[in-house]
Symmetry: C2
């Protein structure tokens, strides 16, 4: 390496600016206080094609960064799914239409189809507000992790050394750079250079299912061209996804022998073109016709691999995320969702550790939480892809997949596919010891959406909007009813406890006098907007007038109310609900067990005011 090589230091280096890398970069930038850099070897971002679907939970996650609204406007919302099967007269016919999302608690009860580029733009614009831009075209050449245990354990050290090459450099001396990073995130796709450089293997197999994909504006008489349509025909399976504006995407099942080169065992795209894929689609779609109204926007052919990386991290200093650690079929629309949710899970942990809030031990939960999910995803995908790609049951094929079988799988899969069913297992940050005090706020699952009204101004607010992904823990205090004088003693006692320098709210702050910046507090009272005086809530429970909510309907009587009952929380005692920065319930506990809440935080937070 020439002497002139530049050297630099960074808290976090992200390799790859696809959905996983951008989610990570934006999340860390929003959290603040972390020196982060994101590189990509492509000279510019993609514009068409690629991933296309956001699941309900992913929309909730994007909204926690303030990014969902513009995507909801731009994208195509999929509310219903139409199922087509072989008809008696040949060809296909509509069997049924059903809601595409069966998960009742979804805040956004639909899928959103939208080109990957629009989603990337939302991140890029948000990052720009925080002065973070993708550095491109820049390629990593070498990565080296220190083997010195002391070095690895030290919070102030930069144990990862990455050599970067700037691909558009005009002078050799500008080309190379050595970056010393505290943490590296490899979000560099299915062929991840980071993964390979670290020697992490992928476990699993290539399947025999081969698919063609075509994006276009169609001319058709197919009645469900604007719904998601799952078509099982005697001539193969077809999935239709309506896209933004008048576009649609077709996923067309192709025959292995037509597509796979027998010599290499790989998909050979050379003999194919979109018109040939459409020819296959037309056979499945008979008696309906379909043709492009204008040029085909994008197309591809691929074989499904179903694999999970053997590990997601090395020494909790280098992580891989997204397609770099799991590949699966696109039929369930999970790809981009799983990827973004990987780094949504990881980013706040890195941010808290870099800022000195949390102990590095929380980083272990990234692999335990996300690799478990990735394996479940592959298992799910195997079952689902088999059903979808299988031949339909007809009078002459009694072994085929019946509509009832497929529809049952569709329904039971709904919770998993939507992302809402996801439940992280017990860990240092997931403690279900007191689950019974809030039976329906499942510890490890995302906080349920619910409308409350603000006590001071009766404005209805969605609790999710008070849980932004800003790397802070949210302490929701369900104070219960304040109508009975008898309860005030209990409430005041807790106020004193939390207001003391040893209470968990102030224990982690620099001075012990104010609440720690890593906590945000919301208070929910079982009271009525017509009567309740928000000033009666002790000061420690109302850091701002907007933080006191009532479990009541809004002024129209149409929104809100019933949360205590819905959540299974008693209104005659005080209950804590601890929501992690990523929106998942970390712990629920009665105020009488505040010692356990203290222990929960003690197990992974750093006592800043003691150590400084």
């Amino acid at each position: 390496m020439p002497l002139q090589t530049r050297e630099s230091f960074v808290d976090v280096l992200i390799v790859g600016a696809g959905p996983a890398g951008l989610m990570c970069g934006n999340a860390i930038a929003v959290a603040g206080g972390v020196n982060v850099r994101i590189i990509d070897q492509r000279p510019s971002k993609i514009s068409v094609g690629h991933a296309d679907g956001l699941q309900p939970r992913t929309i909730e996650v994007l909204q926690s960064y303030g990014l969902a609204e513009r995507l909801l406007r731009e994208g195509s919302q999929l509310h219903m799914c139409a199922f087509y099967n072989p008809s008696q007269t040949g060809g296909i016919e509509l069997t049924a239409r059903a809601p595409d999302i069966s998960e009742r608690t979804a805040r956004f009860p639909f899928k959103l189809a939208l080109y990957q580029s629009a989603i990337e733009d939302a991140f890029i614009d948000s990052m720009a507000h925080h002065n973070l831009r993708v550095d491109r075209p820049v390629k990593p050449l070498t990565i080296e992790l220190s083997r010195d245990q002391e070095h690895l354990r030290s919070l102030s050290s930069y144990p990862v050394k990455v050599t970067l090459a700037r691909l558009d450099a005009t002078i050799d001396t500008e080309k190379l750079e050595v970056v010393h990073a505290k943490y590296v995130v490899g979000a560099d796709g299915a062929h991840s250079w980071v993964r390979k450089a670290l020697g992490i293997t992928m476990d699993g197999d290539q399947t025999n299912y081969v698919w063609g994909v075509v994006d276009m504006v169609p001319d058709t008489n197919f009645p469900d061209i604007r719904n998601r349509a799952a078509i099982h025909s005697k001539n193969g399976s077809l999935m239709i996804i309506p896209r933004e504006h008048d576009k649609v995407r077709l996923y067309v099942q192709l025959s292995e022998k037509d597509v796979v080169d027998p010599e290499t065992g790989r998909v050979s795209k050379t003999k194919w073109n979109p018109e040939k894929i459409l020819e296959v689609a037309r056979k499945s779609l008979h008696p309906f016709y379909i043709s492009p109204l204008a040029d085909i926007e994008w197309w591809t052919i691929y074989m499904i691999g179903q694999r999970v990386a053997s590990r997601f991290s090395v020494e909790d200093r280098v992580f891989i995320a997204g397609d770099a650690c799991h590949t699966h079929s696109p039929k369930a629309g999970q790809g981009m969702n799983a990827s973004m949710n990987d780094t949504h899970n990881l980013a706040w942990k890195i941010a808290q550790v870099v800022r000195g809030w949390a102990d590095p031990s929380i980083l272990r939960t990234y692999e335990s939480e996300r690799r478990k999910y990735a394996k479940d995803l592959i298992d799910f995908d195997k079952r689902y892809a088999t059903l979808f790609s299988g031949k339909p049951r007809t009078s002459d094929n009694q072994d085929g997949v019946s509509h009832e079988e497929f529809f049952k799988a569709f329904e039971t899969a709904g919770s998993f596919m939507s992302g809402i069913g996801l439940r992280y297992g017990p860990s240092v940050i997931v403690n279900a010891k007191h689950q019974s005090c809030a039976e329906n706020l499942i510890v490890g699952q995302r906080m349920l959406p619910q409308v409350f009204v603000r006590a001071a101004d009766a404005r209805p607010v969605e609790i999710h909007d008070l849980l932004p992904a800003d790397a802070r823990f949210k302490i929701i205090v369900f104070l219960g009813s304040m109508e009975e004088e008898s309860r005030l003693a209990e409430i005041n006692a807790l106020a004193n406890e939390l207001g003391s320098p040893t209470g968990f709210l102030r224990r982690y702050s620099m001075d012990g006098q104010t609440s720690s910046p890593m906590f945000d507090l919301i208070t929910i009272v079982a009271g009525k907007k017509e009567k309740f005086n928000y000033l009666s809530v002790p000061l420690v429970f109302r850091p701002h007038w907007s933080k006191v909510l009532l479990d009541d309907t809004d002024a129209t009587g149409r929104k809100g109310g019933g949360a205590y009952e819905r959540f299974g929380i008693c209104s005659n005692s005080i209950t804590f609900v601890i929501v992690r920065p990523d929106g998942y319930v970390g712990m629920v506990a009665p105020a009488t067990a505040s010692r356990d809440v203290n222990e929960y935080f003690t197990s992974f937070l750093t006592l800043r005011h003691c150590s400084s």
Copy 2:
């Protein structure tokens, strides 16, 4: 005038860039096809103070220009109103809280408090997208209207001559300009130069009520500081309006003798300051305290005038709008709302006439509709201001205003104050002949909000969002149920009629083959999303797949449905609902009376393809 004076020609010249002028400029710019200019004599726009409240109907109107969303985010939503009255122990106490909006059909069931400047910014940004910017500081010096009747009647003439002075001109030759305009709108405030130049008088009186206004961030123990609060005390009346962020506005009743200069009869601001106004407020607010946390942001003192201009137009070539034609008390929060709704009413009419779509006779309806409203507003204001400014009824003042009296007025006034109760009387564009075919869509009132689902993709849509203020008439065709074969003959017959060159849809287009650009068509079928095939709707009723709606619930079953019944429309026949470009129902008619619909349009639209 020197020889060098510039001369220019413009379709519409707007004088004044306050809310009325900006609404006008933006509406005409959005409509397109009109050469419009807007001037203001102030060198820059206001930044603090002034008007502060948007009523529910005004929010709907702003949303029809796509402008409500950002204001809803920025503003303070007022959902509840708190009423305080003298207590037994001296001072005041909470009597009741009630929903601030009693109008059940409001799409946005709250008031929005926000500084006028934010609302002006929304218009200014939107106008910029259409390449229209406020030309300032520019002042009109003379205005002259041609007296030549032929000139006044000709569509191609520019009968208004206005001399403008550029106030920041550095060279004399750049200073003056003569503008020849087809139409001039004077939106230049209560002291309107345009009004005075035209010799239009104001009818009505000055009242004896004097008010002080203070904007600040308060330190207070008053429990309703974030609600709208109407306070009647023995020491005078007080109104609190919570503003954006933590700010509030106080409207404080002052004593006439303390404020009005006996020599001039005018309000004298010189002896006053915000602390003196606050001293008065504190007496009304006892036993609660209030003080500014930081500097006072803005303050003023004024006496209420209740006046309406004797006419709103001269020759339907020059119009006045907003404060230029009506002044009243701010207590009912109508000022900015009335002003913006004036030009919302006027702009589309001017745009249609300039584009050659409509006959100039529709311009007459501006005065007939808006002057009637202004007079109603003053009548309302007189009753309401008397009640609000009057002494409260107490044991030692039995003649005072009781809470019950005030609250009853508050409730009955709700529909008027919200702007939703407004009903325009019969005219060339308001025809109630067939009201009975859609009993609850009152002709002359704004179209009711209602959620439908799109037939093609089951996406729930609010009908208001399909009725943008784009200067086009919206034809909503309620086709009824299509399940019975027997109805298809009727539907197909109407399709043929509307598809013919003499049907009203095509009659006004250039070629008679396509629909006129001045119409937008929406079709609503009484059908179910699980079964209905949107392709079964005849082509003339579905200009795009997104225009066919179902009166059904969405996939969650939580939104939509029941519109036929709610509107009082029969699902066994076809019903037309004609919505004016400003969102008001112009006519309802059964398809069997399509001749009357033809006549409705013939009475004010221009037959372009015949005359060209």
